[in-house]
């Protein structure tokens, strides 16, 4: 029982980072319909700026703010200088692909910049609220874990409040639904888009700041988290802001429980295989139905019997 509770906490820690990065993906995707593949690098750089400043004795509040500002700035730079110049020529399939590749390139550049600045060393762990633990009976949970989970919940509530309780949030939801019609209401689409990327960058950088004391963050972590974040987003539904939360929890649970109960070595393999099946299986079923194979026959049997 205790083991399972510990596994649950570690699952939620993983899920928190995936969910926050996924929300960052969705905020960016919903405006310009482009996946920002540099989101993982924003996570990594947010964590590095925070840890480096905290390591030099900067008060933690300022270090956190600096990490978040880095995320905001990178979000806007990628939107203004990588995605928008391409998408301004039209929301065509070709332009979307070009912009997507542009974000991959931006991610590579950011990784290289981080490599030059920090080398390949692991980030020193800086805990936001100390390294104590909370004891509930015989169950012990680290404060850093609770910080990650609590921070993620606070971030999600803040994003929800922004979207559903503010004027700019209403404009963002309008842009998510139809950018062109939004412009015909006198709303500046570019400003709203920049705000979306800014918020996405802040949320992603904050995920890096929260998680860095618990997991080893290196300059190559950005790419890894980009993949995990995008998988959570795809499973939850690209553009479905809150679909990413249950998807992230499912992925976190899968990784933690498989690594403990099955094998640590194959935890990622099993998780990615499960994600692959979750993403592809509906298409297989649809295709099989279209070909009239055994799948529709199986589905029709109960109806025939009835």
């Amino acid at each position: 029982m205790l083991t399972n509770l510990h596994l649950l906490v570690s699952s939620l820690v993983l899920a928190s980072s995936y969910a926050l990065v996924g929300i960052g993906y969705n905020l960016a995707y919903s405006t310009l319909r482009v996946i920002n593949f540099a989101q993982g690098q924003i996570y990594m750089l947010g964590a590095f700026i925070f840890a480096t400043l905290a390591g030099t004795g900067t008060p933690l509040v300022f270090a956190v703010l600096a990490g978040m500002c880095t995320g905001a700035l990178l979000g806007i730079i990628i939107e203004r200088f990588v995605i928008t110049p391409i998408m301004r020529q039209g929301f065509s399939h070709g332009n979307t692909q070009a912009a997507l590749l542009g974000t991959v390139a931006a991610g590579i550049v950011l990784t290289e910049v981080a490599n030059r600045a920090w080398g390949s060393k692991e980030l020193p762990a800086v805990a936001l609220f100390g390294s104590g633990a909370v004891h509930i009976g015989s169950f012990t949970v680290g404060i850093d874990s609770l910080t990650v989970i609590g921070g993620a919940v606070v971030c999600m509530v803040a994003v929800w409040a922004l979207l559903y309780r503010t004027s700019v949030g209403l404009q963002m939801r309008a842009v998510f639904a139809d950018p062109q019609v939004t412009q015909l209401q006198g709303i500046n689409f570019r400003t709203v888009t920049s705000i979306s990327f800014l918020v996405g960058g802040v949320i992603t950088a904050l995920a890096g700041i929260l998680v860095s004391p618990l997991t080893s963050v290196t300059t190559s972590s950005g790419l890894q988290l980009s993949i995990q974040g995008i998988l959570a987003t795809l499973v939850g539904g690209l553009g479905r802001m809150w679909g990413v939360v249950p998807a992230a929890i499912a992925i976190g649970l899968c990784q933690s429980f498989v690594s403990y109960y099955v094998t640590n070595q194959y935890a990622d393999l099993v998780t990615y295989a499960a994600i692959f099946v979750a993403l592809v299986a509906p298409h297989w079923i649809r295709a099989a139905r279209g070909r009239g194979s055994w799948l529709p026959t199986l589905r029709r049997q109960p109806a025939t019997a009835a």
Binding site: A177, V181, Q183, Q185, G186, I187
Partner: protein, 251 residues
């Protein structure tokens, strides 16, 4: 005054509007009619900034607005109700109105509240359904919401693209009653319709577009005098008959 001079505009390499020149004077209501593909909607999109004119000028109150982004053109007092209403279906009636009136809300919240009440008075059904999602409204209610969403910001020029599209006759009558009241209040209007029957009662002038060109620009009285001829020539009558006879001849 709105003035289009020699406007050429279209999509990609295909130019739909060919040297279109049209004027709309203050307080004037102009109907733009023509067959499908004539360029009626393209003309409105070019005025509202959704399309950039390749050649020619679009002037509003003496200043060039051709190629300005749509939000800036809205800020100058031109509002466009698109064909098919183009509402935010997942947002409520009130949220749609709030987006439409966002410029008024930003300038003067008291004025926005007053305009909201005005809209609910103009279309009482919207008041009853203020918390309902726009996508769940009937076609007529959606058209009312689309019109209210632009009226709330008190435009100087209102452009309506096929306001009668897909609506029951009684609803069309209601919509045109409101349009008539707006015209009487002195608002400038451009109304696009494929056929002239609904729109003739409320406009001062009729512009007929065919294959991207203005083929007739007449006062309502002049248009009415030669309506049958124009309709037969440009809006399907004679052309359909000619096509039918030509098909009959070849087969």
């Amino acid at each position: 005054m709105l003035e289009l001079s020699g406007v050429v505009a279209g999509y990609g390499d295909q130019m739909v509007l060919q040297e279109v020149s049209v004027r709309v004077h203050p307080g004037e209501a102009v109907a733009v009619i023509g067959p499908n593909g004539a360029g009626k909607s393209t003309m409105l999109k070019t005025i509202s900034g959704m399309l950039r004119p390749q050649r020619g000028t679009v002037q509003w109150q003496g200043k060039g607005i051709g190629g300005n982004p749509p939000h800036r053109i809205v800020g100058r007092g031109i509002s466009h109700v698109q064909e098919g209403r183009a509402l935010f279906g997942n947002l409520t009636v009130q949220e749609n109105l709030r987006l439409g009136g966002h410029l008024t809300w930003r300038r003067d919240r008291g004025r926005y509240q007053q305009r909201l009440l005005d809209m609910f008075e103009l279309f009482p059904t919207l008041s009853e359904r203020r918390n309902q999602r726009a996508g769940t409204l009937s076609g007529g209610e959606q058209q009312m919401l689309a019109i209210a969403r632009v009226l709330i910001r008190e435009p100087e020029l209102l452009m309506l693209d096929e306001p009668s599209l897909g609506l029951a006759p009684i609803v069309i009558q209601r919509i045109y009653e409101v349009i008539g009241r707006l015209k009487a209040s002195g608002m400038s209007m451009v109304i696009v319709e494929p056929q002239p029957q609904h729109v003739l009662d409320v406009v001062d002038r009729v512009v007929v577009l065919d294959r991207g060109r203005v083929v007739e620009d007449a006062s309502r009285a002049d248009f009415a005098a030669q309506a049958e001829d124009l309709i037969n020539t440009y809006l399907g009558g004679r052309r359909r008959a000619a096509m039918a006879s030509s098909n009959g001849g070849t087969s």
